[in-house]
């Protein structure tokens, strides 16, 4: 494209709608004001889509009983995600916030979650009273050594 010979002094444009995906991080930090890192946002960040998921003819209903749906609009800490992250329109965001607050009252959703951002994402907390098992020690090779 004709954009190619441009000097690198215009990083914002090249990172935008150009064919080549520019350095992603600075742009997204600019969008969210650097306040929300991808790690913090989790699912809603990576699966961003255009348009409000609750508007339109075949849209989902917002209901305080639909815990799974509501949980998508919470951060890892259990806070309601701002709508510039989720793409929900202003009208529906007010409804959504109301529904989340109702679900919280009925202990369907947490008010807050103890979340450790330093922990690796895939690792799940050990269930209940059971302690995570210590890694198994390598099998004794005493027999082999004795043979020597």
């Amino acid at each position: 494209m004709a954009m190619e010979p441009l000097p690198a002094a215009r990083p914002r444009k090249s990172a935008g709608k150009g064919g080549k995906p520019g350095p992603r991080k600075p742009r997204d930090e600019f969008r969210t004001g650097g306040k929300y890192t991808p790690k913090l946002l989790g699912k809603a960040y990576f699966q961003r889509r255009r348009g409000c998921p609750f508007s339109g003819p075949k849209a989902q209903k917002i209901d305080y009983k639909d815990v799974r749906m509501l949980a998508k609009y919470l951060s890892d800490y259990g806070k309601i995600l701002p709508r510039h992250i989720t793409g929900v329109c202003a009208e529906k965001q007010r409804e959504l916030a109301q529904a989340i607050k109702r679900a919280r009252m009925l202990a369907l959703l947490p008010y807050t979650v103890k979340f450790d951002p330093t922990a690796p994402r895939t690792e799940r907390a050990p269930r209940g009273d059971r302690e995570p098992r210590a890694p198994r020690e390598p099998r004794e090779t005493a027999g082999v050594e004795a043979a020597e």
Binding site: D63, K65, D66, R68, R104, M105, L106, A107, L108, L109
Partner: protein, 126 residues
């Protein structure tokens, strides 16, 4: 007449018959105020998202009610407050009550008997 959704949580350490006892009480109250019980959903024993008065689980019941007048609601809420086995309740006004099972029951059916601790026969009663 207006539609309301009444959801309440019963503490887990009482016998399971308590769920029906409280439901009966509420039904009587609704009748007393000339209301109509549109539907009842038992969500069964669920884990609470945070402990309520040191309980970590609770029996959830949701009722769709049509009532007239604030007095009926006030009385209903007052009686629930006095019931010690009910650890939390919420009444909200809704436009209408759908006949279909709510998202909660649908989610449970989808999970199937994955976590067998939740009595599956509870969810079938509607």
């Amino acid at each position: 007449m207006a539609f309301y959704e009444l959801t309440y949580i019963i503490r887990p350490d009482v016998p399971t018959t308590m769920v029906d006892t409280v439901a009966g009480k509420v039904t009587d109250l609704i009748k007393k105020h000339k209301g109509k019980l549109v539907k009842t959903e038992q969500w069964g024993l669920r884990t609470l998202a945070y402990p309520i008065s040191k309980h970590k689980k609770g029996y959830y019941t949701m009722m769709g009610v049509s009532l007239s007048g604030q007095e009926a609601i006030n009385d209903l809420e007052h009686q629930l407050k006095l019931t010690e086995d009910v650890i939390r309740f919420m009444t909200i006004k809704v436009e209408d009550i759908s006949k279909e099972p709510s998202a909660m029951l649908k989610a449970k059916n989808r999970m199937g008997e994955e976590d067998g601790s939740d009595r599956p026969e509870r969810s079938e009663r509607a």
